[in-house]
């Protein structure tokens, strides 16, 4: 038992990796078992992630895992602390639920056994890439994981709706530029320090503070991460990609694919650079401007659309702005708010995209104008939609409120009242567009006739297959539980590490 516990950081990645490599072989004989192997491997990852979180929180020390047995500056290192473990658990849970959720979609579309294998391989690789990105402690390894995430993302977007390939191609172009900018930034760092390990880079940094090379590197890194996390002026690929992706995989793409680069950015900048150097001042200023503009732009743009997915996609731009705002505030509360917002927004946005996928599965609708009275037939879906929407607006019992609360606290503490104003304003805008959806759901007349309904589903009376209900319930539970236990999460789990590691 103890021996397994020692390998947990790498096991979390190895389970889905083995499953995805075996998936084509198993699917050759039986597509269903290929699918099941991936889902069960992702479930094992969830179990391991919970275990790891318990170990890390109870011992209070971070785990360092040396791959290949080489000590850090020579080899590659996995570093897991409290914050990391929370993010890993988040990724594992959403990957598992998404793989469950997409199973009915994939079954409906399956033309040959390779299709099923390919779909699940890409999904599991997306999970592997994101897990790796949040675990690794090596700058170049981060690039490799970033590419894995990106390529599986291209695939999942391209197999989606009709406009998917175009959206995917644009994402491929922008994403490659982003990854190359990141690589260029790492190149500058490597040229000035000679190492790639993040902890080692942090050790070397004090002698190099204010060197012009570092400033160039930071500029490249901001552009690179900014493209990957769809920060405001670099968000060009995001709305189309999120709205036309495969409906089964969309929760994962929209929920966590843009959050984990944000988290990687947090780790990269706060772990490596010293807080009161010139570089970080540049970082704060650039991110602050981008965040404020992004929040306003996303919220305003979301008002203009009636397509459910587009509203959600543009609201994501705003939400990423909040996270960047947390980075730009840069004190304890700001960072707690940012990390908490990464977690809560991942659940909320995944939940909203689950409902979008469910509506598409059941009725084939995209427009919010057709939502009238759907709640009579799909109570669980509607409940999820309402809970997640209220949480997105930021109403108290749910998770979304508390992350915004910490952000506001941090901004007030630092005296940046413009952030507070932007927070309140965009929450109001969010309220407008989400209440419009909720109003249509409950108040409007029914638009979808029963005949159409019968044509689309074979089994009448049942709301959704169980594979789709489980994710919805998990997400609702997560949103409510994070809201209820936020004091514990923020105070006991996140705060010690954030004060110790990020703000040393």
């Amino acid at each position: 038992m103890n021996q397994i516990a020692q390998h947990l950081p790498v096991l979390i990645i190895l389970f889905p990796l083995c499953a995805t490599l075996l998936c084509p072989l198993i699917s050759h004989f039986s597509p269903d078992w290929g699918k099941r192997s991936v889902i069960s491997a992702l479930f094992l990852s969830v179990v391991c992630a919970v275990w790891q979180l318990v170990i890390v929180v109870s011992s209070g020390e971070s785990i360092h895992y040396f791959l290949g047995g080489w000590k850090p500056p020579i080899g590659i290192e996995f570093a897991v602390d409290n914050v990391n473990a929370v993010i890993i658990l988040l990724v594992a849970v959403i990957s598992w639920t998404t793989s469950l959720f997409s199973s009915p979609f994939e079954k409906k579309e399956r033309t040959r056994s390779l299709y099923s294998a390919g779909y699940y391989s890409m999904l599991a690789f997306l999970a592997v890439g994101l897990l790796g990105m949040s675990t690794t402690g090596d700058a170049f390894n981060l690039y490799v994981f970033m590419e894995i995430t990106a390529i599986s993302g291209y695939g999942l977007i391209a197999v989606g709706e009709e406009k998917g390939p175009i959206a995917s191609f644009r994402y491929l172009m922008t994403g490659t530029i982003g990854a190359s900018m990141y690589l260029l930034g790492v190149g500058f760092l490597y040229a000035s320090t000679g190492t790639l390990n993040m902890a080692d880079l942090a050790d070397k940094m004090p002698q190099l503070t204010d060197s012009p090379l570092i400033i160039i590197a930071v500029a490249c890194l901001i552009v690179g991460f900014g493209i990957k996390m769809a920060l405001f002026p670099l968000h060009g690929w995001q709305p189309a990609a999120h709205s036309y992706a495969h409906p089964g995989a969309d929760p994962m793409i929209a929920g966590i694919m843009i959050k984990i680069p944000a988290y990687a950015m947090l780790r990269f900048f706060y772990c490596i650079f010293i807080e009161d150097s010139k570089v970080m001042q540049l970082f704060f200023a650039a991110l602050g401007v981008m965040a404020v503009l992004g929040v306003l732009f996303g919220s305003l743009k979301a008002l203009r659309y009636d397509t459910y997915n587009k509203i959600l996609a543009y609201s994501s731009i705003g939400q990423v702005g909040y996270i960047a705002m947390g980075f730009a505030i840069g004190n304890v509360y700001g960072l707690i708010g940012a990390v908490l917002h990464i977690v809560s927004h991942a659940f909320m946005k995944a939940g909203l995209f689950y409902t979008s996928g469910a509506l598409k599965y059941r009725y084939g609708i995209h427009e919010t104008t057709y939502l009238g009275q759907v709640y009579r037939k799909m109570p669980v879906t509607s409940l999820t939609m309402v809970v997640c929407a209220l949480s997105m607006i930021g109403l108290p019992p749910f998770a979304g409120f508390f992350s915004k609360w910490y952000l506001a606290l941090g901004a007030i503490q630092k005296g940046q009242y413009i952030f507070v104003a932007v927070l309140i304003l965009s929450s109001l805008l969010g309220a407008i567009y989400f209440f419009r959806i909720i109003e249509k759901l409950f108040m409007e007349r029914e638009k979808i006739s029963d005949e159409e309904n019968n044509m689309r589903t074979e089994k009448k009376g049942k709301e959704l297959p169980w594979q789709m209900l489980v994710p919805l319930i998990v997400v609702v539970a997560a949103v409510i539980l994070i809201g209820l236990f936020n004091a514990y999460i923020a105070g006991d789990v996140l705060k010690p590490v954030i004060t110790e590691v990020f703000l040393k």
Partner: protein, 128 residues
Amino acid sequence: MTDIIDRLEFFLADRGIYMLALILFAVGIYGMIACGNYMKKIMCMNIMQVSIIFFFLTFGQKEGGTLPIALENIFSAEAYINPVPHALMLTAIVVSLGTTGVGLALLMKIKDIYGTIEEEEITGKGGK
């Protein structure tokens, strides 16, 4: 004559090579953004990646170093070119092959759907 060559070489060693590599990078990015043809965009993407790979490799150059293959009797670090950038760039080069493959597959799919690979025509057909 040799004086000019010496000076030129010093200029190149000091900053000229970096400048040319970064210009290649910029030309690549410019091509990716400005070219209307999707095939050319993919080619420009490759150009950009080559420039980054070369940029990394320049960090490893050493005056008077030999290939990083250990010989029988030389063990000093000065005698060999720095192998780390080479190893990193082998990874990056393979990643670029993968990206190219996916890009070409997408290109053919786009051709199937829209019947063209020119950006203007696709946007005209509502491909946005």
